[in-house]
């Protein structure tokens, strides 16, 4: 029983270290953070440490799937709050991603023109 708990603690400690979070010095241990206090008040978006780690790993995985260099992902996620990670999780493929307007717009325009052409409204692709 105790052995299992000990193993779990070691595992948690190793995950923390792997993720570069490290251990906060014990002197700060009992401080309740501002964000934690806010989320306690709001009663939502609240995560414990392990949930937060799992969430971070999940978003990390999704980012690598979308072609982000695995070595760069952690740095990118480090500046996101837990709440923001919750917004991102599972949504990376569908949230608005601002990209190259010019090509995409030309693509849309081309489609519209093609449809207009096909239904016979316009006649731009045929020259006399």
């Amino acid at each position: 029983m105790y052995k299992l708990m000990f193993k779990r603690m070691i595992a948690a400690w190793m995950i923390l270290n792997l993720l570069g979070l490290g251990l906060v010095p014990a002197a700060q241990a009992a401080l309740i953070g501002t964000q934690a206090s806010l989320s306690m008040e709001q009663r939502e978006g609240r995560l414990d440490r392990i949930q937060s780690l799992v969430l971070r790993q999940e978003v990390q995985r999704e980012m690598v799937t979308l072609g982000v260099d695995p070595g760069a992902v952690q740095g990118r996620l480090a500046a996101l709050t837990d709440e923001e990670l919750q917004t991102l999780e599972g949504q990376l493929a569908s949230l608005p991603a601002g990209g190259d307007s010019v090509l995409a717009v030309i693509g849309v325009v081309f489609l519209v023109l093609l449809i207009l052409e096909l239904v016979g409204v316009t006649n731009i692709f045929k020259k006399p």
């Binding site: 309740i32 953070g33 072609g67 996620l77 190259d100 020259k127």
Partner: protein
């Protein structure tokens, strides 16, 4: 010959089609809030310009606003931080996170045209998300609004490969509305936006604190307290940021101010207890933690956190005066465990 003629007429009709797409087709351009009468003309001509390379409007727009905020960085450098190859674009939240990485406070403005114009008047360009396509076939694009001309009723943007794109207000708003009027300014720590909304601003600052930009957060809380001296979140945040920077006197004083103003603020009493214990005032710390306990009845999670504070203080007092506490040796044996579980909670 015939082919080049077709191409010529195709390009002749392009601008028209573009206009139809961004302005008329798909949605009715509704100005959410009319331009406030008497809004003067403004153009932030010194705003830098980074012509966008393929798919890189996010990095280019972010480099533009960061540059205007005094943080020189190239789109190429930013691309490694915000570009998602699989989406051929960048997400809003990643622009927000990257801003924090450069020590600037990302503040999403109120989703209204007058809020955007107020930032311009305050000298800050605004990074906006636009939908240049249709609701059903969105084409997301980032640009930076740098100017407004009330006479011509136009806005001026740094956008894509255009240093000075001029759009009629109505058309700009239509594209901006497609992106739910999302706009971002990048604040230097300690700077307030033109029309600061209290909870929006404090949320932006608390996020800086959460991701470890403690000094920037402290500056943000300080200016928040100048504006809203009695705000409980600003007081708590100022105390916590001070504490994490090792400024125990400042932290203790502001926690004391917090619980004096809000006597039922359990977290305030808890953190005051911690700061007092750090300064070896164990009696004061135990009194404060007792108050925190009495106030945390209906909240099991908070109560558990306060209990741990109490344990920590008792342990420290035992260490400081070992002779008075026979059970101190047993407590010491458990210390490594409790330090671990405390630490896993501390950075929440």
């Amino acid at each position: 010959m015939a082919r080049s003629g077709a191409a010529a007429s195709l390009f002749g009709i392009l601008p028209l089609a573009l206009l139809a797409l961004s302005g008329c087709a798909g949605r009715v351009p509704v100005v959410d809030t009319p331009v406030p009468p008497g809004t003067p003309a403004v153009e932030l001509v010194d705003t830098p310009f980074f012509p966008q390379e393929a798919y890189q409007c996010g990095p280019a727009a972010l480099a533009t606003v960061l540059g205007a905020a005094g943080q020189g960085v190239t789109p190429t450098e930013l691309a490694d931080k915000v570009f998602l190859p699989g989406r051929a674009g960048s997400l809003q939240l990643e622009l927000v996170a990257a801003t924090r990485g450069y020590g600037r406070v990302p503040y999403p403005i109120e989703p209204r045209l007058d809020a955007l114009l107020a930032e311009l008047q305050g000298g800050r360009p605004v990074l906006v998300l636009q939908n240049l396509g249709l609701d059903t076939y969105p084409v997301w694009h980032y640009a930076v609004v740098v100017g407004f001309d009330p006479g011509e009723e136009t806005v001026i943007l740094r956008s894509g490969t255009q240093r000075r794109e001029v759009l009629p207000v109505g058309r700009f708003v239509a594209t901006w509305q497609g992106a739910e009027f999302w706009g971002l300014v990048t604040l230097t720590p300690g700077e307030l936006p033109a029309r600061p909304d209290r909870s929006r601003y404090l949320e932006a600052v608390a996020a800086m604190e959460e991701v470890g930009q403690t000094a920037a957060a402290l500056a943000g809380y300080r200016v928040a307290l100048e504006r809203w001296p009695d705000d409980a979140i600003a007081l708590l945040g100022y105390g916590n940021a001070s504490y994490r920077l090792g400024r125990l006197d400042a932290a203790r004083e502001v926690y004391a101010r917090l619980v004096q103003r809000y006597p039922r603020h359990a977290v305030g009493h808890n953190n005051l207890a911690q700061a007092l214990a750090d300064q070896a005032d164990y009696d004061g710390a135990l009194a404060a933690v007792a108050t925190a306990l009495s106030l945390s009845d209906g909240d099991p999670e908070l109560r558990q956190a306060v209990r741990q504070t109490e344990q920590e203080i008792l342990q420290r007092r035992a260490r400081a005066h070992p002779r008075h506490h026979s059970s101190s040796r047993r407590r010491r044996a458990r210390r490594s465990n409790s330090a671990l579980s405390c630490a896993s909670r501390a950075s929440e």
